[in-house]
């Protein structure tokens, strides 16, 4: 059977999965390097951020996207990542950092036009008041090798703080987040 056709998709059919809920969406302005989700409710088990991003910084090299919780800029973060650059895979880790960094991924203004880096960031058990907070991120930028800057990245992060996460900041390490940048925060419920 060639081309089993599923036609007439309207998006209005099908049961909804109510354990995964949209909380908020934020868009870059071009005049700030930071997007913050604040007053995050504690009614979920895990959080997920999905989004596309681009730095307005004028450069043909990638920069980093930083992740911070509850406005904490102390050296309370750890991260490790596995990175593929199209020719080799490598692994690196950092301790006593001031943020979790999604490294070598954020596209900047002088690179391939109309193109964004994409992110899926999971923040696990964010409401716990007894455990440090662990994150995982899958991120990628593909630009048809225009600047030898295509990357696929898996990052694990740790915030060494047992407070519940009530705010999350996403920060461009270089340049403001442009108007094509959009992050959406979702909550995942437990039974």
């Amino acid at each position: 059977m060639i081309g089993a056709l599923v036609a007439g998709i309207t998006g209005s059919g099908g049961a909804s999965l109510s354990s995964y809920e949209s909380i908020a969406t934020a868009t870059g302005t071009g005049s700030s390097d930071t997007i913050t989700f604040s007053a995050i409710p504690s009614t979920f088990k895990h959080l997920q951020i999905r989004g596309i991003a681009r730095s307005a910084g004028v450069s043909t090299s990638l920069t980093n996207l930083l992740l911070r919780f509850n406005s904490d800029t102390g050296t309370n973060y750890v991260f490790h990542y596995l990175l593929g650059n199209g020719s080799a895979a490598s692994a690196t880790g950092f301790t006593t950092q001031t943020s979790i960094q999604m490294r070598e991924g954020l596209i900047r203004a002088s690179m391939l036009a109309n193109t964004n880096t994409v992110y899926v960031i999971d923040i696990l058990d964010y409401g716990s008041t007894t455990k440090n907070k662990t994150t995982r991120t899958l991120a990628g930028i593909e630009e048809n090798d225009t600047n030898t800057a295509s990357r696929i990245n898996i990052t694990s992060g740790l915030w060494m703080n047992t407070s519940a996460v009530t705010s999350i900041s996403l920060v461009s390490a270089s340049g403001n987040l442009d108007s094509t940048t959009t992050f959406a925060l979702y909550g995942i419920k437990e039974a």
Partner: protein
């Protein structure tokens, strides 16, 4: 902060015989799309095409581990969205996250691929780009442009932001 159901199954198709799967007339009412694909295709690579575009307007970068080594490679000016290697007997899995599919920028896709057999297997993460700013309204799921095996199933989900 508004809350509401945001992760919805749009359509599912399971092949009754060797073939491809087409999702068409996709509305623009979601933020992102996700395709979850499970099946076999004689070891060929699972792949997508958008809006019937078979031109060389795609590219990808991947990294993978096969149980003994890690590697990364990439291809420019490809003719489809590259998933990951299918199985021959045991089903392999690919998920495709299609970001801002109705937006006005080029379309980027993240792939998670998993394939295991008794003595061989691999895991992969892939980033793809479709250099086109049009909204995606149709998707063909295939094995490198050709047929997948009978029993292969794909579900299209919509993810809607607040």
């Amino acid at each position: 902060m508004p809350a509401g159901a945001t992760y919805e199954p749009i359509a599912t198709s399971t092949l009754g015989s060797a073939g491809t799967i087409t999702f068409s007339s996709i509305s623009g009412s979601y933020t992102d799309l996700r395709i979850v694909l499970v099946g076999t295709a004689s070891g060929n690579t699972f792949a997508l095409r958008f809006n019937g575009d078979s031109g060389t307007n795609y590219s990808y970068t991947q990294m993978n581990g096969n149980g003994s080594a890690v590697a990364s490679s990439r291809v420019s000016n490809n003719s489809l969205i590259y998933g990951w290697t299918s199985g021959t007997t045991n089903p392999a899995m690919c998920s495709f996250d299609i970001f801002s599919y109705a937006g006005s920028t080029n379309k980027t896709v993240l792939v998670v691929g998993s394939r295991d057999n008794v003595a061989t297997g691999s895991v992969a993460r892939v980033v793809n780009l479709w250099r086109n700013t049009a909204a995606i309204t149709s998707i063909v799921v295939s094995a490198n442009g050709g047929n997948m095996d009978s029993g292969t199933t794909a579900t299209l989900y919509g993810i809607k932001a607040a």
